[in-house]
């Protein structure tokens, strides 16, 4: 363990990183307020306590008891979906949650998050996401696809495996909502959704169970862009056959629409208050920086892994596409059939069929065989098809047809 002097140095460095004074002065408080836009219960986190806390087994019990009684509430200062998902991984892998459950609040800039075993081509409009710069993340928990923006609050309940209880957590959220709005009709369903007025989904749930720890996370729709959500979570891709877990689309509503006082800050504070009361712990929301390696050693490599193509796309369960599209040729439409098998995100079998009076069979064969083994990805396909085109005869008409075909194929990726 670090000597006390070493810990203080870590504390000072961490405070610098967080951009807050190491002493809890009014100026540092204003700074914290400015950064988070909230004047509620957010206080700068004591780094010394945090370091003790986060080095689980090596810390004497007295140290834990001093800082954390029976529960702990944290809030990420980052809006990056990968960094925030990495916090979950880190806590899950490194912390002993025996008698020390944790509640984690986080919000993300516009992102679509799919479940562990889902197929992004089946779940969302990837073309639209690329156009609009919306991130795609695959989380490690199960469940369906969701859209996150700053109007959505994510809550993660970390417990030991024994204390894992999703319904208990959802009941806590309902109590919190009713505490600030007693007439609000919110109910948890058997599938762990929260419904407003018996019909509108305001929260979806997913969870991960590990060796000794588990986490249950859920969304809470406060003021999300509902129209954008619907268009992003609607897949335009046809002919997909897959065993991946499929989402169940639901009508959603924002809590803010029901009651304009229910802002994200108000909701977070209400849930924190209820959590603190339930676990008989301090009602303080501690800010954390998910990129800080001194607090979370190894967390940045977890965030990196979550951003790799291999994780996001490569983990898609095996699937096949059986579809067709039309191309205009001499004032009539030609039908092009496509049969593609994809495993680990890469093309295993590729059969694009087009009439040979439109495109010579040998050129189609070249295209089919060169796509096998490549990523099912428009960028990689562009690169491959450009290289291939150079090997084809320099015929303007042929090149034009080739380009039309390649654009159509990339359109299904």
């Amino acid at each position: 363990m670090l000597a006390l002097r070493g810990r203080d140095m870590v504390a000072r460095k961490a405070c610098r990183v967080l951009g807050i004074g190491s002493a809890f002065s009014s100026s540092s408080h204003r700074e914290a307020v400015r950064k988070t836009g909230s004047s509620s219960m957010l206080i700068p986190f004591s780094m010394k306590n945090c370091f003790q806390l986060l080095c689980n087994r090596q810390v004497p019990t007295a140290g834990f008891k001093k800082t954390v009684k029976n529960g702990f509430i944290i809030h990420s200062i980052s809006n990056d979906v990968y960094q925030n998902l990495a916090v979950e991984d880190w806590i899950h892998d490194h912390m002993n949650l025996e008698d020390k459950p944790i509640l984690f609040f986080w919000r993300n800039s516009p992102s679509v998050v799919i479940g562990r075993h889902q197929n992004p081509w089946q779940e969302c409009n990837l073309n639209l996401m690329r156009e609009e710069g919306i991130k795609l993340a695959r989380r490690r928990s199960g469940g369906g696809a969701v859209y996150h923006d700053m109007g959505n609050i994510n809550l993660t309940f970390f417990t030991t495996k024994k204390k894992y209880d999703r319904m208990e957590n959802l009941k806590l959220i309902v109590r919190a909502l009713n505490a600030i709005h007693p007439q609000l009709d919110v109910q948890a369903t058997k599938r762990f959704d929260l419904l407003l007025d018996g019909q509108f989904k305001i929260s979806g749930t997913a969870s991960k169970i590990g060796r000794t720890t588990a986490y249950h996370h859920c969304t809470l729709l406060c003021s999300t862009d509902g129209t954008f959500l619907s268009s992003l979570l609607k897949s335009p891709y046809q002919g997909i056959r897959s065993n991946a877990t499929a989402s169940i689309p639901s009508l959603v509503k924002n809590l803010l629409e029901k009651d304009p006082t229910l802002t994200c800050e108000v909701l977070m504070n209400a849930v924190a208050t209820e959590y603190a009361a339930y676990h008989q712990t301090d009602n303080h929301i501690h800010l954390i920086n998910p990129t800080d390696e001194t607090l979370f050693p190894g967390i940045n490599s977890k965030a990196k892994e979550l951003q790799t193509w291999e994780w996001i796309y490569g983990k898609t369960p095996k699937f096949s596409i059986n579809t067709s599209f039309n191309v205009l040729y001499e004032q009539s439409h030609l039908n092009i059939k496509v049969f593609i098998d994809i495993k680990n995100g890469k093309i295993e079998i590729c059969n694009i069929e087009a009439p040979d009076h439109w495109l010579p069979l040998e050129i189609l064969d070249k295209l089919n065989s060169s796509l096998v083994g490549s990523k099912f990805c428009p960028t990689e396909t562009t690169m491959l098809t450009n290289i291939l085109l150079r090997t084809c005869p320099q015929d303007h008409k042929l090149h034009s047809k080739w380009n039309i075909l390649c654009e159509k194929i990339k359109g299904i990726m």
Binding site: S141, G143, R191, F192, S207, K208, I209, N243, T245
Partner: protein, 156 residues
């Protein structure tokens, strides 16, 4: 045979108190009883880790599944099963896949060290199979063990 069965029952009780499935194994077939009669050295025992994975070994190959207890109590209806690929090297306690049931992804941990030699492809079409008795249709992976006698280290 009656005596043999009584011995086996007490063996089951000692080895895997949370697992009624062991007894079912011995009710299965004359073939199994014959194996037992040939000596304890050849006894195929399904050992349970405290984490609910179970493993049976034969000739240095381990077959891993999950106990009925785990399946019923912790998981419920399994809707998806993901497994690492053949050739993956695993240390004891390494994660080798996950089972999904009603939005919960439950990690699977290897009870032994070795290399994945086979994965149960039937599970991708029919993940509900894991609920079958762990060394029948519901097996998850087979692995060549780095230490065949390591089976004894697993707590019962």
């Amino acid at each position: 045979m009656v005596i043999m069965r009584a011995v086996l029952c007490s063996l089951c009780a000692v080895l895997a108190p949370a697992a009624p499935c062991l007894l079912r194994a011995w009710q299965l077939g004359a073939g199994v009883i014959r194996t037992l009669c040939m000596g304890l050295a050849l006894l195929s025992v399904c050992k349970f880790t405290e984490k609910h994975e179970c493993v049976t070994t034969e000739n240095g190959v381990g077959t891993v599944g999950i106990s009925n207890f785990a399946q019923e109590e912790a998981l419920g209806n399994v809707v998806y099963c993901s497994l690492l690929e053949v050739g993956t090297k695993l240390n004891k306690q390494d994660a080798f896949g996950a089972l999904e049931s009603v939005k919960a992804a439950s990690e699977l941990y290897s009870p032994l060290s070795g290399e994945v030699s086979e994965i149960n492809e039937a599970l991708s079409e029919n993940p509900g199979l894991v609920s079958k008795f762990c060394y029948e249709d519901g097996w998850l992976i087979k692995m060549t063990l780095s230490n065949p006698s390591a089976l004894d280290e697993i707590s019962s």
